[in-house]
Every structure is written in C-alpha cells, then in structure tokens.
C-alpha cells in the first residue's frame, strides 16, 4: 500500500486547475484592455518644436483626448518638431512617439502609454489594421475564451461566446499567438489580412480531462463528478483501427477488457437471440456456465440494449464508447449488467453548428492464409508409407471386404489392393505411388479455394444544426471478399439522428438506424473441412489432387468405396464422386439481415429543477437464409443416391427425391420494443448538490423463426417439388432404411424466443462542495425467467458508490448484481415426430422441475483514483477491485435415480481480484515533435471457492475439449490441469504417468485418479496479466502509432499427435515425424509411439498429459498506423482537413514463451483453421468538409 499512498500524495487534482484556468481566459495583467476605436473625426493642428508634454496638453485642449502621463515611460520634456494639419490623433501619437520603445492604447477617452519592444507605427503610408476572425476546433466548433496575442506586444484579444475575436491597430505583418487550454498553441504571421480564422488542434491528454463525459445509457455524466470505474473511448481512438467490427476496434486499447482471439473467420449472424459467447470479457469471467448464462457484456446503443449481432453497427457512426466496469456504474442496468456494460453513443449534430461533412474511405488487403503453417498435416510421402505399412498388417481388410456400408478406400490402398490381386505389377505400383507422393493437397486448396481477402469501407456523414434543430445523417457501405473464393459480405448502414426544440425547455429526438447485411458463404471447400463420413481418412488425404496434369477436374475419394459407387453409376445412379473443384461453386448460401431501429424521445424541463423524459424504441430485425445446393452439388447427389434403390428383378432404379437442387430456407423475425419514462430532479442548495432520477422501463423481445428444406428446387423458376412423403421409411443405399425428414428438415421447424422485462429504478446522487460524492442506485427487475413464483421473478439490485476528491479520487462500491438464467419449472416439449411404433403424438420432458433455481449474484468492491504527474505530462488512473460471485449456476451431475443426468444448480462461488492501471503521457519536444505513450496493464486472478461437482474422468476430458478443465475449489475457474508425465516407456514408446507415486501405464486408473499425485496444476488458461503499450509519435504532419499487446501468466494445451493409427489417419499431425519408433528414441522425444491396435485410453492420457501444456505468454505487434494530416488553416475553404493513413494489423508475435512457434491464442483444436493469422494492410483517407 506504500506505493499507492505515494502516488496519491504526489498526484494533483487536475480538473480544478484546468477549470479555473479555462474560465476567465483574459487573465494576464494589462495585456489586453478592451480596445476602443479612436474617433476618426478628432484631428489636431500644430506645427513647430514643442516638448512632448506641451504637445499632449495642446492636443487635450483641442480634441478632448487626454494622454495619461502617470506611467513615466518616456521623458516628457524632450522636444519634438512636428507639422500637423487636421491630422488624426492616432497619427499624431505615432509621429510624436517616433522610434521610442513606447506604444499606446485608447481607453475610456484617454490614451495610455506603455513600454513596448516593438511599438507599432505607421510607416511609409502603411495603415494599421483591424483583424477579426473566428477560432474553432477540429470539428468546426467555435471556441470561446481563446487568447490571441500579438507577438512582442502587450496587445491582443479574447474570443467571445461565438468564437469571434477582434484586434485593432495591428501591424499588417505581425505575428499572432493563439492560446487555449486544451489545445495546442499556434503562431501565425499576418500578411495584411483583415480576417483570419484559426482551427486549433486538441492537446488530447488535456482535453480528456476537461471534457470527458460518461454515458451510462440513462444519464450523461461528467466524469469528474461520477465515481465509478469506467473507460471512455472517443472517436479518435475508435477510428484508429480499420476493422468493420466495432468490438475489434476495442481490442487492446482499454484496460480490463480481454478479447479472446479467434482466427478471422467471417462474421456470422446469430439467428436466435440466445447469447453465444462473443469472446469478449470485462474483468474476468463472471459465469462458469456460459451455455446457460449469457456470458456477454450488455451492449447499449443509444440508451437501449442492442438486440442482435454487434457487427451490424458501423463504427464510423459511433461518437464514443463507454465501458462500465464496476458495480457502481453497471448496476443502473440491473439484471443484465453482471458481465459489464458497453455503451455506444451515435454521433449527433449540435445546435447552431455549421454543416460539416466527413468522408472516410479505406481499403484492406488480407493475405491469403498459409496452409503450410498448419500443424495438422503429414507429408504425402509419410502418409503413403503409413498406409502401406497398415495395409501390410491387414488394417484395411475389414473395409475391403465390407459389403455392408461400403467405406471409402483411399487411392493408395486401392493401388496396393490391385497390386496384391495381381492387376498391377510392382513397377507400375511404385511409379504410381511416387507420382502421388508429389501431390500436396494444401497446394490445391490454396490455389483453388482460397485467395487474398479484400475489404472496402465507405462512410459519409453530414451534421450540423440551427438554433433549435440539429441533425446527423450518415451513410456507410462496407464490402469484403473473404479469404474463401466466392464468399463475401457487404453491409450498408444508414443513420439519421435529429433533435428538435419546438419550445423552450422541450427537446424531441427522432432516430432511425437501418442496417442491411449480406453474407455469402457458399464455398465450404475449406482445408481440413472436407471430411469423409465413412472412411479411414477423416480429412482429405494429403496426396489428394483437385485437378489432373492438364488442369481438368478430378474426383477425390470421400465417403464410399469408389468401386461400389462407380458400379451404381453404371446402373443409373447419379455420379457419386466428389469433385472439389466443382464444389467451390456448387453451393450458394446467401444470408440477408435487415435491421431497423426507430426511436423517439421527448425531454422536458420544468419548474427549474425537474426534467421528465419519455422514450420509445422499436427494433425489427429480419434475417433470411437461402442455402441452395445445386442439382450438381455433391450434397444433392449424395442425398438423392442415398434415397435411391435398385430393383434387381426389374433392373429399375427408384429415386425418392425429385431431380433438381435442394434449397434450405430460413426466415427469422425479431421484434423488440422498449418504453422508458424517467423523472429527474437536479437541485443545488449552497454547497449541497442533489440529483435524483426515478423511472420505469418495459422491454420485450419476441423472436420467431422457421427453417425448411425443399427438394427438387429449380434455381431458374424458384419452385420446389412439394409432394414429398417425408415421414415414410425408404430403403437407403448402401444400407438401411430412413426417412427424408431425419436427413433434412423437409417438414420445416420453428423456433421462438420471448424475453420480457419490467424494471423500476432510482438513482440518488449527492455531492457536497463538489468534493464528496455519494451515489445510491436501487433497481428492481422482473423477467419471464423463473416460472410462476413472483418472488423469484423479481430481483432487487442496489449499489452505493462514494467518492472523495480533494487532490485524489477514490471510489468504492458495493452491490449485488444478478444475472439471468432460464427455466426452473418443469417444462415439456411436443416432439416434432410421432412415436415410431404407434404413430401417436409424444412429448418429452425438457427441463426437470428445479424450484431452487434462482438468479446468480455478485458483489464488487472497487477502489480507484485518477492522477496527474509532471505538470500533466503524465496522466492516468488505477483501479483495484474484488468481485465475489455466488449462487453461480453450475452444471451438476445428479444421481441417475433422478432420471436426469445433469441439472443446473446455484451452488458455485468464485472470487476475482484484479485491477487496471492506465498511463497516458504527452510530451512535446519541440514545435513539431511530440510523443504520446499509452500503457494499459490489467491483472486478474480468480479462484473457485466452492464447486459442488466432484471431478470425474469425464470432467477432465470432456468438460472443455480445448482446455480440458478440472474445476477444483482453490484453483482458477479456468484452471489448466494435466496428467503428470513420466516419460516414454523405453521398450514400447508408450506414454507413462504416475499412480500412487509409482510410474504407471495403467491409463484407466490414472484417468480415474483425480488426486494430485496423477495431476499437475499449471495455472490459469486465461491471461492473468494483459494489456497494451501504444506509442504515438508526431513529427510535423506525420503521425506514427504502434500498438503492442501483451498477455502473461497463462497456459495453453497444444494439440498432440493422435497415437492410434486409426485416429492419426483421421486427424494428421506433423509430430508424426517425431514419434517414438525404436528403443532409445525416448531420449530425444516425448511423442509416444503410434499404435495399430486401437487404445483409446492411452491416447486420451497423452492428449491431456503434462508434455502438451506450454506457457502461453506472448507479446505481439498488433498494429502500426502511419498517417499524414493536412489541416487547412489559411481560411475556411471547403476542405478543412485531410488525413491519409495506412494501417498494418496482425503484424505478428514478437516474443513468445513457447519454443514451438505456436500462437497460443489460436484455438488449435477447437476450429479447423489453425494456421497463423496473416497481416492485413489497409490504406485510407478521412476528409473533413
């Protein structure tokens, strides 16, 4: 605590300083007395030699203008020879004073003299001029209170409320110095202009301190008045990155937020609103049942929750993002806020603002993935050798002789078989095998199915306003062709945001937000994605080829024995071959999303202290999916053939499915309605400030959807064949019986989701002398969640936040925040199928009666402070928090006597401690060189305090296929465990572990032994320390910004070689070359021998063993941005500013703890795409008119 105290002692309270300076900006003594115009008609006539004193006295008599001589800046007894005839007083003064270092000014009928290094005189007939103009910021907003000084003189002016200034009697070539708090000061040499406008660049670190406001979605609060832990991200930072997804732009620029990195797969829109994990976490993991409890932060767009995929939002329309982290700031959102809240605020116009146009265009090139990076591969020659060895050991005999389901036989095995049957001589066999060894399926995938991805973004927005009307209109269009050939996405956004002031104190807001999002993902010929459903090789074997030497398409062996399918084809079945080259274009999967948000709100201020508001928002989202498999596609041919039968007697083939393609249509319709009414009171009595907000809110989200498959679909006239008998058992080829509707949803299916909330809330804020702040938040939420019992339906929330700001700020909050979970009462569901034996309708029990189920709860304590050091060159903030979550819903294996295998119970408890430190520096080394470093450090440690489920073998192996968690109280909630490793058996190359302290190969016993002597606890599988370092270097108009991410103190499990041959053939792995072959190998390798006899437990043990766990710590160079900005300061021409930029993202890992060259944040086994993410290069321009 010593360090913290030291920081607190040294920190300044920045805000008061800035405010006190920003207020009366004309402060400097005697500098800029209000200028008055010297009456032109006052002239003076005199000639001869007089003392200065005499001249001034005579002038006073004739013109009534008295020259104040009290300052004694010159010797008034000096004599001067003059010749004046009806000469204006100003000229008289200049002539009399001559080259003396004295200047004068006219005020209150008197002329005052003062010392000046560069007195202004009229020379050679030159006139002193009056300069007027306007000062504004980057966005064209007028800046009042800006000081404008004439260099070397005690002369100048201050801009008025409209940003106008006026300085009289300025030499036409003087240098003006413009200063304003929060902006970079600048100088300008006049060239005789009478009007001159200035645009000031913000000094970013300082402006934040002055202007930051936090939008909680209910209120806009000045940051300094609001205790609580939250980050505000302005549009400059939002626009630093280029991704069309707003959440991507948040990554690595804000403390306390962890983004789980998944490879850049194309965005997919959820069709039903049941909360898939977005991989986006604020302050750790708040739930241990992410499938049952929504794990995502609540996303608010313009005061109301945004239903649907966040990728629909155009980042160019967003003015700021506020990330609410602690209970004090989130609890206003009640039940859904337990995972933190992200508030997005759309740009708006301002009253009285001139029209402004912003134009943003960018193009991004993403490099084609390098499939050779994938560790899941065995070179063709090795794979062929494996097949040969296995063939000689009789591994394939069952398949060869199988006349039942006719499994696929790979080309090499076919060749070996023909050789054995004497159809192929040895020489020819070797020739053909050698030919196949030259193939590399990755090359074919890469050449035909992949490409460089390319994205374009266009955005234009117009905003402005009059005295009682403001508008913002934006149009955005994004296009992306993805790394898969033929696949693309495009998105169009229109936002219209208007505020009217029809009467004094009354404000009306009308808002329209429209999104159209199109996605085409028809090409599914992905590397490792072409899987055999009925054969020894799971993925396409490595020596497969898409084309022959002439470049013609050739089939690959996929699901069935080709001898069998060829014979059927001769009988009249459809061609049952899979042609990868054709498949790239055989399927057209188009998805369209349309989202419309309409919002209206009125705000009325009355009786001085009261403010009432009423808002209504309607959101409608319509999603259409059209997944079309053409008649030529393998999918269609496979299904048609499966449902065909051959009658030996008649020699006829019966096809149950009509000719034509297959179309799967999905239609989803979401309707969300929100109404909110609030009443606010804002009252200050002496040094006591009160603010009270009470209100109520009703929300409903009603989503419905249906999906249906249609056969015999003709792409040309768009009609399917409708008279299918989908519920009849037909004979299948090669074997069995089946119904059409069990293969595809020909009968159609529907889904529905209804979520309703009623909430009441009140926020009471009290502050004393702007020093002590106290916030009380109370809220009651009800939802259609927990069945019939009202006391469970409604849940109260409360929070207290306090702050004390003298020269430090400290916040603390305590609260209860609960979260949502589904049904607690017995529910049944009518099965879509009738009973197979009786044909009677049936129902099944969906959810066991579980009346003890209730809301999850958490408490959070947060202490934090903002500080500023080294004359505001370094500013920052830190927060420490402790979050205790209890009644967490966990999956619980219940005794089978209940008739259920698992139920959900509120029984787990966790504690998360952590904090965030943010440092923002701002140094200017000279006029043109500036450096702004930013550092974010977040640290988190979480611990499971209570978890009722005893670990079982299943919990080690199955709970999470990627990280294989065992949940043990006292360990992290994302704990990484493995089986202790005892090296390889020197005789057999088997993996060995420990059982009761002894080296063991008893895999069954070890897998069932959950005690520490078989297991190793490594630590957390999620980063304990993470953050970023961003450096911004400005040189003249150039700006270079480099962002590094780091993540430390966590572990990952790398995928291991499958050590059964039958598994290895299904999932090849490059470690095969390192596997144990003979005695002695165990000294060089930890990769076990591969076994012909299938031994599942041996493989499971190895896959979860200690040798496959690696330290995941890494530092990556996330992005580099270089920009060149030209600001037009000469005059207000059409273009005010142009910024040209280039942006390089995903540059690469610059340091990693593992020595294997693996990217620990790629989920190696969870997704097919485990090759490295490659860099994306973007260029763009921002134009401000």
């Amino acid at each position: 605590m010593g360090n913290i105290a030291a920081i607190l002692v040294y920190s300044f309270f920045t805000f008061t300083m800035i405010f006190s300076v920003a207020g009366p900006a004309c402060a400097q003594e005697g500098t800029t007395p209000p200028q008055q115009t010297l009456p032109q008609e006052k002239t003076f006539t005199l000639s001869g030699t007089y003392s200065i004193e005499e001249i001034f006295d005579l002038m006073d008599k004739e013109t009534g203008i008295y020259v104040n001589r009290s300052s004694k800046v010159i010797d008034f007894s000096q004599e001067v020879t003059v010749y004046f005839r009806k000469t204006p007083v100003a000229e008289v003064m200049d002539k009399v004073l001559g080259d003396r270092l004295v200047d004068w000014t006219y005020r209150g009928g008197n002329i005052i003299l003062f010392r000046s290094q560069h007195p202004v005189r009229l020379n050679n007939g030159e006139q002193l001029i009056t300069v007027t103009g306007m000062v504004m910021d980057n966005d064209g907003v007028a800046l009042p209170g800006v000081t404008i000084m004439v260099k070397g003189e005690k002369k100048g002016g201050v801009t008025n409320g409209s940003g106008f200034y006026k300085i009289e009697r300025v030499h036409p070539q003087s240098v003006l110095i413009i200063n304003s708090i929060g902006f970079l000061s600048r100088q300008y040499r006049l060239d005789g202009e009478h009007t001159k406008n200035f645009i000031l660049e913000p000094a970013v670190a300082q402006i934040e301190a002055v202007e930051v406001t936090a939008n909680t979605g209910y209120q806009v609060l000045k940051k300094r008045e609001t205790p609580g832990a939250y980050n505000v991200i302005d549009s400059t930072l939002i626009n630093r990155a280029v991704s069309p997804n707003i959440l991507d732009r948040l990554e690595g620029i804000s403390g306390g937020i962890l983004v789980s990195r998944t490879p850049g797969t194309i965005n997919w829109f959820p069709k039903t609103p049941d909360g898939a994990d977005n991989g986006f976490y604020i302050r750790g993991f708040n739930t241990i049942s992410p499938n049952s409890v929504n794990p995502n932060p609540l996303i608010i767009l313009d005061n109301f929750p945004y239903e649907g995929n966040i990728t629909n939002i155009n980042p160019n329309d967003i003015a700021s993002m506020t990330i609410l982290k602690d209970a004090g700031s989130t609890s206003i959102w009640g039940a859904r806020s337990g995972n933190g809240v992200i508030v997005l605020t759309t740009k708006t116009g301002k009253y009285g603002e001139k029209m402004k146009i912003n134009f943003n265009v960018s193009m991004s090139l993403g490099l084609k993935p390098k499939l050779h990076d994938d560790i899941h591969f065995i070179e063709s020659k090795d794979y062929i050798e494996i097949e040969r060895t296995l063939f000689s050991q009789g591994f394939y005999e069952q398949d060869i002789n199988n006349t039942f389901n006719r499994p696929a036989i790979t080309p090499v095995v076919s060749l070996l078989l023909r050789n054995r049957n004497g159809e192929l001589n040895n020489l020819e066999l070797e020739n053909q095998l050698n030919q196949l060894k030259l193939n590399d399926v990755r090359r074919d995938f890469s050449e035909h199915a992949y490409r460089n991805s390319f994205g374009e973004q266009y955005s234009i927005n117009i905003r402005g306003g009059t005295k009682d009307f403001s508008y913002f209109l934006s149009l955005g269009h994004d296009r992306a062709r993805t790394k898969f050939v033929r696949n693309y996405q495009n998105r169009t956004n229109v936002v219209y945001n208007n505020i009217f002031k029809p009467a004094k104190n009354l404000e009306v807001n009308a808002y329209i937000n429209y999104t159209q999002n199109n996605l085409q993902i028809g090409n599914n010929v992905a590397f490792r994605g072409v899987q055999s459903k009925n054969g020894r090789s799971g993925e396409l074997y490595p020596y497969a080829s898409f084309t022959d030497k002439q470049g013609n398409k050739v089939p690959v062996v996929k699901d069935y024995n080709t001898l069998f399918t060829d014979s059927l084809h001769r009988l009249g079945y459809l061609d049952w071959n899979y042609y990868p080259l054709d498949e790239i274009s055989n399927n057209t999967n188009k998805n369209t999303l349309q989202n419309l948000i309409l919002k209206a709100s009125i705000n009325y201020k009355f009786l001085r202290f009261f403010q009432a508001s009423l808002s209504y928002q309607n959101q409608r989202q319509i999603i259409n999916g059209n997944n079309y498999y053409s008649a030529n596609s393998y999918f269609t041919r496979d299904l048609v053939n499966t449902f065909s039968s051959y009658n030996i007697a008649t020699g006829r083939i019966t096809q149950q499915l009509p000719a034509g393609g297959i179309m799967i249509n999905g239609d989803y319709d979401w309707k969300a309605n929100n109404v909110r009414g609030t009443l606010g009171v804002n009252r200050n009595i002496k040094s006591h400030g009160f603010r009270l907000l009470v209100g109520g809110e009703v929300r409903e989200l009603d989503a419905e959807g249906s999906e249906r498959a249609q056969a015999g679909y003709s792409d040309i006239n768009g009609t399917p064949v409708t008279n299918l008998n989908t519920n009849i058992l037909y004979p299948l080829t090669p074997v069995g019986q089946g119904k059409l509707n069990t293969f595809l949803d020909f009968d159609g299916s529907t889904s529905s989701f209804l979520s309703r909330y009623i909430s009441y809330f009140s926020v009471l804020e009290y502050n004393w002398d702007q020093r002590l702040e106290l916030n009380l938040i109370a809220r009651r939420d009800g939802g259609n969640l927990f069945g019939a019992r009202t006391n469970r339906k409604f849940s109260p929330f409360w929070a207290i936040a306090g702050g004390w700001s003298v020269d430090k700020e400290e916040f603390w909050n305590v609260d209860f925040v609960n979260r949502y979970y589904g049904s607690s009462y017995l529910t049944i569901s009518r099965s879509p199928d009738v009973d197979p034996l009786t044909g009677l309708p049936t129902s099944v029990i969906l959810n066991p009666p579980n009346e003890d189920l209730r809301w999850e709860k958490s408490k959070m304590l947060n202490i934090g402070s903002d500080f500023s050091l080294f004359q505001q060159h370094l500013e920052g903030s830190f927060d420490f928090f402790t979050k205790k979550s209890f009644d967490l819903i966990q999956r619980f294996d219940v005794a089978p006597q209940t008739g259920f295998s698992t139920v959900q119970l509120n029984s787990a408890r966790t504690v998360t401690r952590g904090g965030e430190l943010t440092l923002n520096g701002n140094w200017k080394f000279s006029r043109s060189v500036g450096w702004r470093p930013k550092l974010n450090i977040s640290w988190i440690s979480d611990k499971l305090l209570e978890y009722d489920q005893k670990p079982t073998r299943q919990s080690v192996i199955l709970l999470d296929s990627r990280i294989g968690m065992v949940r043990l109280p006292g360990k992290s909630t994302k704990a990484m465990f493995s089986y202790k490793w005892a090296g390889l058996d020197a005789k057999t190359g088997d993996p060995q572990g420990y059982l009761n302290g002894e080296v063991s190969k008893n895999y069954t016993a070890m897998l069932n032994n959950f005690h520490t002597d078989s297991l190793v606890y490594h630590g957390s599988a999620s980063p304990r320390i993470f953050g970023n370092v961003m450096n911004d270097i400005t040189y003249k108009r150039w700006n270079l910004s480099v962002n590094l991410y780091y993540r430390f103190k966590y572990y990952f499990r790398k995928p291991g070689l499958p050590i059964n041959y039958s598994d290895l053939l299904k999932g090849p792995h490059q470690d095969f070359s390192k596997s144990w072959r003979m005695a002695g190998d165990e000294r060089y390798t930890n990769v076990p021998s591969v076994s012909v006899a299938y031994n599942d437990l041996r493989n499971q043990f190895y896959q979860r063993s200690e040798v496959l766990v690696e330290k995941a710590d890494n530092i990556r160079l996330q992005d580099i941005r270089l920009s060149y900005t030209v600001t037009n300061t000469k005059e207000i021409s059409k273009v005010k500013q142009i910024e040209l930029y280039s942006y390089l993202s995903n540059v690469g890992i610059i340091w990693r703890a593992n020595k294997l060259g693996l990217d620990p944040d790629l989920q190696y086994t969870a997704v097919l795409e485990s090759y490295r993410i490659r860099p994306t290069i973007s260029i763009g321009a921002i134009l401000k008119l």
Binding site: S751, I758, N784, I828, T838, V844, G899, F900, T1004, Y1094
Partner: protein, 256 residues
C-alpha cells in the same frame, strides 16, 4: 404548459400500469420459448406416456450381452463400447467409472411416471375426470412397477424371503424432485413397491388398449405373474399368468 400537462399524465399513467401487479405477473408468465410447455391437461400426460422409446424399446440389455446369444469377433471388440465389452467378457469392473445406461434409462422411465402421477394430483384429475384418471394413472403405475422390476432383476440379489428384509435393494424414488436423493431400500421394500404399483395398475386399467405397446389390465397381471415368479411365489404367479391366458390367447407378432 399544455405539453407539461400531457407528460405529467403520461408518466404516472405508465407507472400505474406497471405497478398493477396482477397484470404485470400475467405479462411475465409467458414462457421464453413457445415449445417449452407446462403440463396442463391429461392430453399432455398421455403424450409423455406415449414414448415407446422410453417405456418399451430401451429395456436393459446388459444381461443379454453377457449371455451366449451374442458373438463378437475378437478383432472387433476394440470398437465396442467399454461397458458392453466388459459385460461381454464378464470383466470384474464392468463400468470403469462410467454411468450404467441400463440403470439410467430405467430411472428415466420412472421419472416420467412420477411426473405424470404428480401432475394428476396437482391438476385434481381424479375428481374432475375420473375416467381419464384411471387410464393415465394406471399406465404410469404400470410403467413404474415395470421399470423397478427390471432394476431389481439386474442390480439386486435374488429375492430370498429369509433375507429380503436386510438385502440391499435399489433406490425407490416416488417424486420427480431432482434435489431429493433417496438411499437404497431393502429388497423387500422394492418388491412391495412393485407389487403395489402393479396391483393398482391392474385395478385401474381396462382389459384392452389402443396399441399393443400400451399397458392394460392384462399386462399388469402379466407383470405380477413375473414378479411373483421372481419371489418364488409360484401360486400367485400361476394365478396371474392364468388370468392373462384366459383373457387373451393371441400372441404378439413381433415381425413388423
């Protein structure tokens, strides 16, 4: 001030609507998913009992696997699931820490029966619709008795009147509450439960059903015959078997 007046009416009005508790609860009673239903009628109960996959075709098979009706080649044994392999080989530890499917599926049938029996009580069907009550309750009792008899055969010592009182039986669960875990009862208690349910079923059910998969008075008697047979009570076993044969001499044709 005209507009003020409007607003000050609108907001309290909304709050009033919200505060009217009954409306509010009604509004929040709507289920989240349309397909999630609660049991509201005897029709729903019958639909639960219509699941032949639960009550008819998922009978414990491990006894069958362990006997000599089935032959599996040694080379194929590696691909058979662990429990079935162990049962086939008569290994000492059959389950290797896994849950017995036979045990679980029997209890799944039992919880369905319990849910139906509880719903009959909750919805007061007995007094409102006595005919349906007899039909539904009879089926549920039969299935519960039948599932328990399968469990007893597989997991308990054979019935021995001398030790039945102390021999460990299976867990007799009469409620669908997942939080209620019952301990093992004695073999005697198990048989009493089975006899009670089967007898109730025989008294409630009619002699014929719509489908051969549905229990009837005759199938309840058949069950009683088998249970008494396991209890070495040959006299009663004969009595019930005889009653069945007297009422129905047809064989079921399984070749459908």
């Amino acid at each position: 001030m005209r507009i003020t007046a409007k607003i000050s009416v609108v907001i309290p009005a909304i709050l009033l609507i919200l505060l009217s508790c009954n409306k509010q609860n009604e509004w929040l009673d709507e289920p989240r998913k349309k397909e999630e239903l609660t049991i509201k009628s005897v029709k729903d109960m019958q639909e639960l009992l219509n699941n032949t996959t639960i009550f008819n075709t998922s009978m414990p098979a491990i006894g069958l696997i362990g006997c000599d009706n089935i032959l599996v080649k040694d080379s194929e044994l590696g691909r058979v699931n662990v429990i079935e392999k162990n049962a086939y080989l008569w290994t000492k530890d059959i389950y290797e820490g896994q849950i017995s499917t036979d045990y679980f599926t029997a209890y799944k049938g039992i919880v369905y029966a319990n849910v139906v029996l509880e719903s009959l009580k909750n919805l007061k069907i007995e007094s409102n619709d006595p005919a349906s009550y007899r039909q539904i309750s009879g089926q549920a009792c039969f299935y519960r008795a039948y599932m328990y008899s399968e469990l007893v055969n597989l997991f308990c010592k054979a019935y021995n009147s001398a030790t039945a009182n102390t021999d460990k039986g299976i867990c007799i669960k009469r409620s669908s509450d997942v939080n209620q875990i019952v301990q093992r009862s004695s073999v005697l208690e198990c048989y009493s439960q089975i006899l009670e349910d089967a007898t109730t079923a025989s008294s409630l059910l009619g002699k014929t059903g719509l489908f051969t998969t549905q229990p009837t008075k005759l199938s309840a008697w058949g069950l009683l015959a088998r249970v008494y047979l396991s209890m070495n009570n040959y006299e009663k076993s004969f009595q019930f078997a005889d009653s069945v044969v007297k009422n129905n001499t047809q064989l079921i044709d399984f070749t459908f």
